[in-house]
Amino acid sequence: MEIIQVVNCTKDYHSDGQIVHALRGVHLSLHKGEFAAIAGPSGSGKTTLLNCIGGLDYSTQGNVYIEGTDISKLSPKELSRLRLFKIGFIFQAYNLIPVLTALENVEYILLLQGMGDSNRKRKAAEVLELVGLKDEMHRLPHELSGGQQQRVAIARAIVSSPAIVLADEPTANVDQKTGSALLDLMEHLNKEKQITFLFSTHDPMVMKRAHRLINIIDGMIVKDTLVKRKNK
């Protein structure tokens, strides 16, 4: 089943009176349970593509489907709900809410979804335990290391069991050892929970570990390699 379908997607920006073609007719399909990475140099359009898939930006032309829904036609409010229920985000700089503890940060998504108090706390605690932060769940983000913060961000992204997790250079701000551990964790979640991961990266380690590598240059997908199909 196709979780993401991008059809002939273009995105143009106006910059200093000139039109910049960030995406030029991109076609892409992702199936449930994939562990894929979009790789390319800076300015190649990987961030723009991720923005369009994540419903944070509208494409200029073409369509983006998430579980069969054309998100190009959704209003900002509908897009907000789609992001809440269908998509998990992991950001490069962790971007946790600084005044909430690790547990509260994870709970926050469930709270936005309207989950009840006891279920919410139990589920958030379970996910934090899953990412190895059982003993740190009551700490504030600034009391955690970079790797721990990114684990919280991963827990926040997967706690509501979204259709897909979009991760923007999740290893960029951590050392190689921590980055490797984070990838182990995400790969484990992908395998055990069938969560679809789509990374944007130029980290060779991520590219090496991805099961599918999508190369993008100048707004066009130039290579799409199935490195290794994961076991379903």
């Binding site: 907000s80 709900r81 985000f89 909430l100 936005l112 009840g116």
Partner: protein, 414 residues
């Protein structure tokens, strides 16, 4: 529908945001504290000013309720006198009445060898007058400088009038009047004592003698000009006046202090209005301080707000968090401001604030030179509501700006 748990998390984030930049929060809370203290302390001083102005006017001459012959209040003619008969006993039995006093009042000329002055002569019952007015205290609370026998030719004049006439205690002066029958008469009096009230205009114009002497020289016989009623509290005046009106008072008029001193009631309203205008100016500047600070806070958290929106937070939540953060600052400022104000008021209510340097003007208003501030529960509630409303108003624009932040603008890298 707003869910309780949503309110809880929004409250929690808003409140914790207050403590993220402690120095900035302290500056904003301090500006609220200063504004609140200025506002509430001004209210307290104005309360004291108004109360003293009112109480002094009541205590000097008005009383809480006065009964006259119809028309006397506007035209103090001797012909507008009346026989009290059993009215005094009936009034004394009314619930809420503390005491009563009878008076004879007429206009006259007081003259010394140096000068003369038009005055209002008040013939009083010396003992009863001690209860209905403060003239005994104004004369020094000394029985030797107060009228003791209401038939004697003793007279009390103010210090300022004594200075003008060039006379003192024990000196003679002459009171010239036109009696009830229109006959001009002159009577010699001996200055028994000097008084000073808090009201300058009163001192210039009023002299006291005994009621029997006043009745004798004016030809009134046993008639009087007015009955002054002192209630247990000035707020009882309306009900007491209403009860007196139900007695046999067909040709009499019963006036409360509010009816006799409408200028003071109006002055108090005017002072209150002026104070609120003054406070509005202070708080408009505070609105801008809070708004400016909240905008700075939002600019600092631009990216964070973008993240919150990108993971599905509705704009209304973002707005609520900003408003609640401002309210948190407001609450801190209010608590500190109220504590400081009550301390200040508690101290100054005991010591008083001496406005002696401004004494002439204070005497014109009849407040006395020392003001004793006080606060009412209403003042505290009004101040709290005003500050909270200010805070909310100040946070509306920043909240709107925050709610309008587009995730894509805040996140350039996803």
């Amino acid at each position: 529908m707003i869910r309780m748990q949503n309110v809880k998390i929004v409250l929690m984030i808003g409140w914790r945001n207050v403590f993220r930049n402690k120095r900035r929060s302290l500056i904003v809370a301090s500006s609220i504290v200063v504004g609140l203290v200025v506002m509430m302390f001004s209210m307290a001083i104005m309360n004291g000013f108004n109360r003293q102005m009112l109480e002094n006017t009541i205590n000097t001459s008005l009383g809480h309720v006065a009964i006259h012959k119809k028309g006397f209040f506007n035209d103090m003619k001797l012909s507008l006198s009346f026989m009290p008969k059993d009215l005094c006993n009936a009034i004394k039995n009314i619930q809420g009445v503390a005491c009563i006093g009878q008076r004879v009042k007429f206009e006259a000329m007081v003259q010394s060898s140096r000068s003369s002055q038009g005055v209002l002569v008040m013939g009083i019952e010396p003992e009863e007058e001690k209860c209905v007015s403060n003239i005994f205290e104004y004369a020094g609370s000394d029985i030797h400088s107060y009228i003791t026998d209401s038939s004697n030719n003793d007279i009390l004049i103010s210090r300022s009038l004594a200075t003008k006439l060039g006379i003192g205690i024990g000196d003679k002066c002459v009171v010239m009047l036109q009696d009830k029958d229109g006959v001009l008469a002159a009577h010699a009096f001996i200055v028994k004592g000097l008084y000073q009230s808090p009201i300058e205009s009163f001192d210039k114009y009023v002299v006291y003698t005994g009621i029997r002497k006043a009745q004798e020289i004016s030809g009134l016989g046993n008639a009087i000009s007015e009955i002054i009623v002192r209630c247990r509290d000035k707020d009882f005046a309306d009900s007491v006046a209403s009860t007196i009106n139900s007695l046999d008072t067909a040709d009499l008029e019963v006036l409360t202090w509010k009816q006799m001193a409408p200028n003071i009631v109006q002055a108090i309203k005017l002072f209150d209005t002026m104070m609120y205008v003054f406070l509005a100016i202070i708080f408009i500047s505070i609105i801008f301080t809070i708004a400016n600070t909240m905008i700075m806070a939002i600019m600092e958290r631009y990216r964070e707000i973008g993240i919150m929106k990108s993971i599905g937070t509705q704009p209304s939540w973002i707005a609520a968090i900003v408003i609640l953060e401002a309210c948190g600052l407001g609450v801190l400022g209010i608590v500190a401001g109220i504590v400081i104000t009550y301390l200040l008021v508690a101290i100054t209510a005991t010591t008083g604030i001496n406005f002696a340097f401004y004494s002439e003007s204070m005497r014109v208003w009849g407040t006395g030179t020392t003001i004793y501030p006080f606060l009412t529960a209403t003042n505290s509630i009004v101040a709290t509501v005003i500050v909270l409303l200010n805070t909310i108003v100040a946070s509306l624009y920043p909240a709107y700006k925050a709610a309008k932040i587009k995730p894509i603008d805040a996140l350039h890298f996803i």
